[in-house]
Each structure stands twice: as C-alpha cells, then as structure tokens.
Amino acid sequence: MDTQQQRKERLDRGIKVRTDGLYALMGWQELGYLTLPRLILIVGMLALPLLMPGMYWQRVITIVCIYALLALSFDFLAHFVGLVSLGGAFFIGVGGYFSAIFNASFGIPPLFSIPMATVSGAIVCTLLLIPCLPLRGVYFAIVTLMYPLALARVIEATDILGGTDGIMGIDSFSNSWVEQYVAIVLVLLFLFGLRRLVNTDIGLVVRAVKDNDQAVRASGMSVNFYKAGAVFIASGIGCLGGACLVHIYMWAGISLFALDFSILPIAATVIGGSGTLVGPVLGCLILVPISELLRDFGTLRIVFYAILLVCFVVFRSEGLMVYGERKYHQFERWVKV
C-alpha cells in the first residue's frame, strides 16, 4: 500500500438517476441511492419521540413539528410562488382560534375540529390576502405581518374570543404519543406532498407565475387564481399547525399571534436551505431545540440566535440542505493510481 499512489476522484454519482424524471435504475445500488435519504428522514422523524429523554423534550419535538409546518408553508410560498410571507403568526392565530371555538364552544372533538379549523382558517386567510396578491416582495410581506398584529389588538380591545384571558377548556390529544405522532406524520405528509405538487404540471404553472407572470397571462391563465390557490394551500398548512397547537396547550390566546411564529420559520429556512422544502424542516429541528436550551438565558437568547443566523447568512448562505444535496450527489473518494 505504501508504494501505491492515491488520487482524489470526484464523481457525479447521481447523473443517471437524476436526468429529469427519467429514472434509469440500474440495480439495487441506485435504488438505494435514491431512497436512502428519504428513508433516513422518515425513520429518523418517526424515531425522534422514542429517543427523547423525557416529557419535556417530547413536547419540544411537537413544537418543532408545528414550526416545521410553518417553515414548509413559508418555503413553498417564497421559493415556488414568489410571495414572501411573514404570515406565520397570522395562520397560527386564525387556525388556532378556529379550532378553539369549534372545540370549546361547540364541543367538536379534536379529530374533527382540527381539519375543520384548517379549511375554514385557510379560507379566511386566503380571502383576507386576495386583495394583496398583486403586491410584490416586501409589500406582501408587510401586509401578512400587519394582520396578526391587528387581530391581536382587536381581540384585546373588544374583548371578544375571551379577550386577553383567551379561550380555556380546550381538549388535549388523548396522550402525548398521539400528540407527537400526529404532528410528525403531518410534517412528513405535507413535506412529501408539497415536493410532489411542485413537480407536477400544475406546480410547473405555479412556479411559472413566479418567474414569468406575463407569459402565464399570455397563455390564458389567471396569475391571481394560481397565487390564491397557492396561498390557500400555504395558509392551510399554517392553520393546521395553529389548530394542533391549541390542543397541545389546551388554551388559545393572543400569544398565538406572536411574532416568533413569523420569524423563526424564516430563520429555519435560511439555515436549512430555501427551495428544498426538507431544509426548512431540518432548520426547525436545529433551531427550536437550541432556542429551548437557551431559555435559561431569557431574552439574551435572541443574541445567540441572531449570531447563529448571521453566521449562516454570511458563511453558508445556500443552507445546509443545498450543501448536503450537492455533496451527496457529487462525492469524492480516494482511488489508487
């Protein structure tokens, strides 16, 4: 071995299997190459609750999942539809209050109140956002940011929906395992669902709306219709998170409109890699526990948080997943010469 020279070789491992949906699977190896990352993700997510040391950390996993739903919704809207939304708090609040009302006032069990809140929340959010759809970039972002602030103040001032006390007496999930696995399965479901959606023909149109809306209009399709559809999906995912959250806390209050729900998903997307959909989920898995660990530091944790973000933006602005995907597809190895 000593006498043999070695050279670093770079291979583009996935070139055959990656060619535009035409899968030329040559054997188990390549099948494994394609499915392994998905498998690791699914098994890893499902195993998480079992690996947690106690109730406290199991709860953190659930919260991670709620944020992951928001991050998915943000990444989908920002990267594929071209609408930068700061509406995390808006969606969580609307979905949360709906589920709270359905459950606490009408006695509808969580199994039904959550899907009902998801749909009615998505309808309300979409209707409120439709007038803003022609706005681009920062203007849409500002409107999505104003709604939760306004709604929280309205509830506070008019004392409706329990006012500052919030709505109490909401049913919880039957036990913490159900709670965690509902959240985890939902994240996986929407992660793979969205990934599939953006690669269908309708997803192609939605992405075209972002890149080239004039051409879409010239093709006889309403840009605002597709934007509204995408907002419906994204706000639905957010409202679902909110609906789950009120059953986790057994309480709905104006803190559902807290800005954390808008900001953290964006940070998670930056860290995880925007446009990958998996990245934002990964980002939440990193960020939410960190912010839990830093809870002892009180408000000082925002500083850690900010430093982490700045580092990511400056040094690895493409995000973990984009970096990881590239390294996975294009790996290096030592070969004998």
Binding site: L204, A215, A218, S219, G220, M221
Partner: protein, 262 residues
C-alpha cells in the same frame, strides 16, 4: 357575417402621462389575413399589441373581436378567446427545457378545450403535444434541441418558442411583435415559410416588423404608424409609394435603403 372583421380597433388611444403613445387609431383585420404594421421606433406598435391583448388598458377607444367588445378585459381572458401574442422581448421560462415551456400554456383552460394546435378538441399528454408543436415550429425532433434549457437556446429558437406558446392555445389570431428582429438572414428565410403555413392553417396574423422586405413577402396589407398615429394603410406597393412613409422613416431618403438595411 363573413364580411365582419375578426379584429377591429376603433379610435384606440393610449396616453402614458403626457405622451400619447396611441392617438385615435382605427384599423381592422379580416379573417385569415396577414396585416403588417410598420413604423419607426417608439411609434406605438407594441402599445397596440398591449392594448388589444389586455396587457394595458387603453385610455379610450374600443377593441372588438368577432364583433364582441373586448376592451379592458383581463389579459388571460382575451388569450382564452384565442387572441394571442408574442413578446418583443422574449419571455420564455428560462429555467425549463424548451418542451416544458409548452407544458405551461397547454395547462390553460383553452388548451384543455381545444387540445392545442393540432388537437381535435382533445388534449393528449402535455409533454408529447409540446414536442409535436415544437417540431412543427422548426425544432428538430431527433436532435436534443427540444430538451435543452431555454436559457441556452439561441435567439432564433426563442422566437419560435414565442410562437409555439401561442400555438399551444390553438389561436384564432396571433399578434407577432417583431419575430424577425435579431435573426440572421438565413434564420428569417426559414421563418417565412412557417408564417405562410400558419396562414394556410387559417390563423389570422398581425405582424409588427422592421424587416420590411421579408414582411412584404407574407403580409396582405400594411399599416404604417408614426408618433402614435396611423399614417396610412394599403398594399406594400401603395405604402412604399407614399411620400409620407419615406419621410417618417428617413426624412426624405430612398425607402429602398430601409428595405435593404432594416
């Protein structure tokens, strides 16, 4: 019924702030006709296309398609009626392969109804139909060109792609905004038969061009624009004989030169 023009503009006016990009322009196109629109830069040709296809709202005046008032309708509704356009500055989906560029228009309600250019009311697989259209428009099927990223295609193919997007809707009329400009002589030579074939297929065409020689080969009638106003209209000979046209283009120089160099 048959003497009704397919498209008619009445007193079309568009003001951008102070400047009148269009000033009381009247014209019509008959079914199956090729109308050429020429005029110096900034004379309002693209504005005509934008006003007709709903991309901008005219300040005043009306547009009729088959006798129906379509003034101020949304762009996608006008395209849905079969009034399609190309863009002077090409707007392909750069990050998609050429054939995927057609999957998007083929997703439109109109394509679903009509089945695309050759579709008899039934839309097949969008990828296949897309490649079929590309082949007819001059993308060699057996080459790799239809599968190449739009961003890597030369101008000639991008101009064809603009036309292909219209064809995916099975258009009644195409408003072509300078499909010849930026092309080499040989590329234009191969585009001309294509335009003739579109006309034979019964598609009405409005062609805005600076390349007069090639335009005159395909156009039945020419309309000349100058400073947002219609200067004159007629056959190519009539128009070229008009001294006002020469003046608009070149002061008073010979129009033959336009035909050579434009």
């Amino acid at each position: 019924m048959s003497d009704q023009p397919i498209l008619e503009a009445k007193e079309l006016t568009k003001a951008f702030g102070g400047i009148l990009a269009l000033n009381r322009v009247n014209f019509h196109v008959n079914e199956g006709e090729v109308l050429g629109i020429i005029g110096p830069n900034g004379s309002g040709k693209t504005t005509i296309v934008n006003c007709i296809t709903g991309f901008i709202k005219p300040t005043s005046g009306k547009v009729f398609f088959r006798g129906k008032n379509i003034t101020g309708k949304a762009a996608h509704r006008i395209a849905d009626m079969g009034v399609t356009r190309t863009f002077q500055i090409m707007r392909p989906y750069y990050s998609l392969p050429a054939y995927k560029n057609l999957v998007i228009p083929l997703f439109s309600p109109r394509s679903k109804r009509t089945g695309g250019w050759r579709g008899g009311g039934k839309l097949g697989d969008r990828n296949t139909v897309g490649i079929d259209i590309l082949e007819e428009i001059g993308f060699e099927r057996d080459s790799r060109v239809p599968y190449k990223m739009a961003a890597t295609l030369p101008t000639g193919y991008l101009k064809r792609l603009e036309l292909a997007r219209c064809l995916a809707l099975k258009p009644e009329i195409i408003l072509c905004d300078e499909v010849f400009s930026g092309l080499s002589m040989s590329e234009i030579a191969s585009m001309v038969p294509l335009i003739e074939r579109l006309q034979m297929d019964g598609i009405t065409l409005i062609m805005i061009e600076h390349r007069l020689r090639e335009l005159f080969r395909v156009a039945d009638r020419i309309m000349v624009m100058n400073f947002g106003e219609k200067l004159t209209e007629g056959t190519s000979e009539e128009v070229m004989a008009d001294s006002r046209v020469k003046e608009a283009y070149f002061g008073s120089e010979e129009i033959e030169e336009v035909m050579t160099y434009a």
